[in-house]
């Protein structure tokens, strides 16, 4: 290990004992660089996740108040936001360098009832509201029970959604809030509107959720996401400067020319000023608290730190930052503020290492910031990011597994085309190794111009087994961006400046209208609908009319396409309808200030103020499972006639003579319990049929057909601004609940078993021809047509040992990218460790794994996802 790039303080696990019986540890394990950050991390691990009603309470009190309740959007919202921000309790914990948090609690979220109250109410009261669309998804969701989760009521603390704790004294407040927003929330108004103006499509839409063909609509969970921020204005103007800017734009307006458009702009600028006032007050309140703490604190060292914090906060509450620490603090404030005004996942700082580099460089050159201090600050930042929690019903948490998907991109190119790597980005990577927390996740934008040294450092981070950085392909991304936004004027420089948003989505840098997406659509469930002539076999709900003929493979494929078109179109169109309520009630005003060109144009995001307004359709999940299932049907039923359609359906209904995974609580392909043998032969046939991930053109072609057809369908659907939707494929962790909602399927998958994750990962245990065959399958279509594609690989730590092992992993990544792959990420772990951690979670509090686009603590992940990760094929050195 002597030729490592890492500094001495990182610990290495030794491979001295070559006993194969021992669980292989990851090659590197970092430790926080200072006592302070060690202590902060310990605090974080000890904290239980909590729900805080302060923000929605103040927001609601103002929103319903007599003076403002008649005001138009977005002014009414702005005033409510200002009131909320201004009245929050400030909490600073000892030892913190970066301060301010979403709630009073270290790991806390607010129940954002103004967005949707039903699933929060279901979660809190533990009764299911009949109108709660998330309920069907909730019912199939199984969550992790350890770590920071509060899965059950304990003492004076009530469990909400099996994850959050809320004090029993706060519960009546939550009830009051839910009662107020019942019928008024964005969710309620969206669905009521849909019911009234969508016609018969409304019923189809509802059936899609009831059958779990798709997960609950985002307007009921989290509508916003997958976006990167532009910190230019806060950093270059400061909060006061931004207010002054808005005032100057208002002052420019000619009173004689106030038409409706000009009025809307005027209202918008006023709204922004209100929000900015709220932010200013919020920061100043924190500054006061820091002052107060400084006065009562006995320890001189801590006292001085509080005083420094107070000074910094007072300054940045109005002005532009004077140094790196203040810039980081200001960025954090804004990032947090977006999280507080919206229910948003995938809010990403983007190319933070580029944004903050000028401050960093200046401080370093002037000797005002040493490397250790910078590292310490970045470690503090990691704790802060990981504290962010998002509250929605249980369905949301099954999808997100507790992660907020805040993604920092490193590498890539500068606008002028040279490599963008720099010392700050290296430190960002290093802090990810020393302070291994789930958030922020890191992505390397791979470009051949990056230096080998930089990339190998990123590989060493991969070897810590945290699952980051993921690797994405700059060339593929730029192709996508110019294709998606070129007609809206995106330049080459802008394309080069892009950043990863959310899990791994390709997003213009801080200049795009964003949506999370409507939800997650299960292609495996679609296969079930085709098999059962339009009826969902689990709920017996008829979703679509029966097909007119189903005699040949071509018929089957036609029905698949037809069902896909109908459901996907309606479902995505409904997103636009729902967005009317978003625009009316819950526009992102802080977010608009951080998106080019809203402030300049005088329009918020929902009014089209962003430079780029094209977005994407809802992602499809389980394309791999669907391809495998269709391959089975095509081969066994229609080509070889080895089984008839009816025999197949009978076997599926009987779960091939096995107990359901939901009953046995075993969600992986292995460990299934047999009850009878009558279907053994059929199961074997289905399991032996061609599977994606083995470089088999039979099934790979079917996969290609599916995803290309999906693309053609969504390209024909308009988004909120009339742009064609782009295709998106990812699962987050929805492949758990979506799998639980499926019976046994023709690919030989059993009922309730978790589906394949991501988009081109093989179904666990079915990629039998090695990693190159898997990659070849993944490359069977054009990745640059998609907002993202996603591939997870599990590799045993010994397979990539040493510097040579690192170089070879890099070669693998480069080869995949050179051949057109967009994304790849790794779990470097011995499966036996995961199994042990499942049995003994108390020993593995710090174990991180990569799920699908995000990293999470093993103990906080639900068993269905845990089982799926364990089952994934692990590539290790030959015996």
């Amino acid at each position: 290990m002597t030729d490592s790039l890492l500094p001495q303080e990182l610990q290495y696990n030794r491979f001295g004992d070559y006993d194969s019986g021992e669980i292989a540890l990851r090659e590197f394990e970092g430790e926080p660089s200072s006592d302070r950050t060690k202590e902060l991390r310990k605090q974080f691990w000890d904290a239980k996740i909590a729900l805080d009603i302060e923000f929605p309470y103040y927001y609601t009190v103002k929103w319903k108040s007599k003076e403002i309740r008649g005001l138009p959007r977005p002014l009414r919202r702005a005033l409510a936001l200002r009131h909320a921000f201004s009245n929050l309790t400030s909490v600073i914990r000892p030892g913190e360098l970066l301060v301010m948090q979403k709630t009073r609690f270290a790991r806390g979220a607010a129940p954002q009832v103004q967005f949707s109250e039903k699933n929060i109410w279901s979660a809190a009261s533990k009764e299911v509201d009949a109108d709660d669309l998330g309920a069907s998804f909730d019912r199939v969701t199984i969550l992790g029970r350890h770590g920071g989760n509060v899965p059950e009521d304990v003492g004076n603390v009530i469990s909400v959604g099996r994850k959050f704790g809320i004090r029993k004294e706060d519960l009546p407040v939550l009830t009051w809030l839910c009662e107020y927003w019942d019928g008024r929330s964005a969710e309620d108004s969206a669905l009521e509107l849909e019911r009234r103006v969508f016609g018969s499509y409304y019923e189809l839409d509802m059936k899609i959720f009831q059958t779990v063909l798709a997960s609950a609509p985002s307007i009921t969970t989290n509508p916003d996401g997958r976006v990167t921020l532009d910190y230019r204005l806060p950093l270059e103007l400061g909060i006061q400067g931004m207010m002054d800017y808005c005032q100057s734009r208002i002052a420019e307006q000619s009173i004689g020319k106030l038409d409706s458009e000009a009025i809307e702009k005027r209202i918008f600028w006023h709204a922004e000023i209100e929000v900015l006032e709220g932010l200013k007050a919020w920061v100043k309140n924190y500054a006061k608290e820091a002052e107060r703490l400084g006065q009562i604190e006995e320890s001189l060292e801590q006292k001085t730190e509080y005083e420094e914090i107070a000074d910094i906060l007072y300054w940045v509450s109005e002005n532009t930052p004077r140094n790196f620490r203040e810039a980081l603090q200001l960025v954090w404030i804004w990032h947090l503020a977006v999280h507080m005004e919206l229910v948003i996942s995938g809010l990403s700082p983007g190319r933070l290492g580029q944004t903050l580099y000028p401050y960093f460089r200046e401080d370093r050159d002037k000797g005002k910031l040493d490397r250790d201090k910078a590292l310490e600050l970045l470690e503090c930042m990691r704790i802060k990011f990981s504290e962010i929690e998002i509250c929605g019903g249980g369905g949301l948490h099954g999808k997100l597994s507790g992660n907020a998907f805040n993604n920092i991109s490193v590498g890539g190119l500068k606008p002028d085309g040279t490599s963008a790597e720099n010392e700050l980005e290296e430190l960002i990577i290093e802090s990810a190794m020393t302070m291994a927390t789930p958030s922020p996740t890191i992505t390397v934008i791979y470009d051949p111009k990056l230096s080998e040294r930089f990339m190998l450092k990123a590989v060493e981070c991969v070897k810590t087994g945290t699952g980051y950085p993921a690797w994405v392909n700059n060339r593929v991304a730029m192709e996508f961006l110019l294709s998606q936004h070129g007609s809206d004027g995106m330049s080459l420089e802008e394309a080069r400046s892009w950043g990863v948003a959310g899990c791994i989505e390709i997003a213009p840098a801080g200049s795009a209208f964003c949506v999370a997406c409507r939800g997650f659509y299960s292609l495996e469930k679609l296969v079930e609908l085709v098999l059962w002539d339009g009826v969902d076999p689990r709920t017996n709900i008829r979703v679509l009319p029966p097909p007119s003929r189903m005699e040949t493979w071509d018929d089957f494929w036609e029905v698949f396409k037809q069902y896909l078109t109908e459901t996907l179109t309606v479902w995505n169109a409904a997103e636009n309808l729902n967005w009317v309520s978003h625009k009316q009630n819950i526009t992102g005003l802080v977010l608009s200030a951080l998106t080019r060109n809203c402030l300049e144009t005088g329009a918020d995001l929902d009014a089209g103020g962003a430079a780029y307004n094209a977005t994407w359709a809802s992602p499809v999940v389980a394309a791999v499972n669907a391809a495998n299932s269709l391959a089975s049907v095509k081969k066994l039923v229609f080509e070889e006639h080895a089984i008839s359609m009816n025999e197949l359906k009978e076997a599926l209904r009987a779960n091939f003579g096995r107990k359901s995974a939901i009953e046995t609580e075993r969600y992986s392909v292995f460990e299934q319990v047999k009850t009878e043998s009558a279907w053994d032969d059929m199961l074997a046939m289905c399991q032996d049929a061609p599977k994606f991930g083995n470089d088999d053109p039979y099934v790979d072609q079917i996969y290609k057909n599916i995803v290309e057809y999906y693309t053609s369908v969504v390209r024909n659907i308009s988004n909120f601004f009339g742009k064609p939707m782009a295709p998106l494929m990812l699962s987050v962790s929805s492949h758990g609940p979506l799998g639980q909602a499926c019976l046994a399927t023709p690919d030989g998958r059993l009922a309730g078993v978790t589906l394949a994750d991501a988009s081109v990962s093989a179904h666990p245990g079915t990629d039998l021809k090695g990693p190159y065959a898997l990659l070849n399958s993944a490359l069977c279509f054009d990745h640059s047509a998609f907002v993202n594609t996603q591939l997870n690989m599990k590799i045993h730590p010994r397979a990539i040992e040493g510097v040579q092992g690192a170089k070879k992993l890099l070669e693998l990544i480069e080869a995949y990218m050179a051949n057109g792959g967009y994304h790849i990420q790794f779990n470097i772990v011995d499966s036996r460790m995961l199994k042990d951690a499942q049995d003994h979670p108390e020993h593995y509090r710090n174990l991180l794994v990569r799920v699908a686009g995000f990293t999470e603590y093993w103990v906080e992940i639900g068993k269905p996802i845990q089982d799926e990760i364990i089952a994934r094929t692990e590539y290790e050195k030959a015996g």
């Binding site: 009190v61 309790t89 000892p94 003492g155 809320i166 009051w176 009562i296």
Partner: protein
């Protein structure tokens, strides 16, 4: 009328929350971890919460009305930014 309750650490001025179970006590300028529901010590000083304020009137458990703001409040609400707080 203010609601009188059993004195716990979580109601004390010196308390800073960490989560729903515990927090820090700044009594004597220190930073000790204490449980929210733990019985308070002799240094207890009521935090500025609506339930301790003279303007507060309970309407139902944990919820009430405030004479000063003239609106709905809740008993655990911190009068952090309220200029009208007056110890009952």
């Amino acid at each position: 009328m203010a609601v009188t309750t059993h004195r716990v650490c979580g109601d004390c001025q010196s308390y800073t929350p960490v989560d729903c179970f515990k927090g820090y006590c700044h009594e004597n300028g220190g930073n000790e971890v204490v449980f929210l529901d733990a019985g308070a010590c002799d240094s207890f000083q009521a935090a500025g919460k609506c339930k301790y304020c003279a303007h507060y009137q309970e309407v139902k458990p944990f919820m009430g009305h405030c004479d000063f703001v003239g609106d709905h409040v809740f008993s655990e609400k911190l009068a952090w930014t309220c200029s009208g707080f007056r110890q009952a």
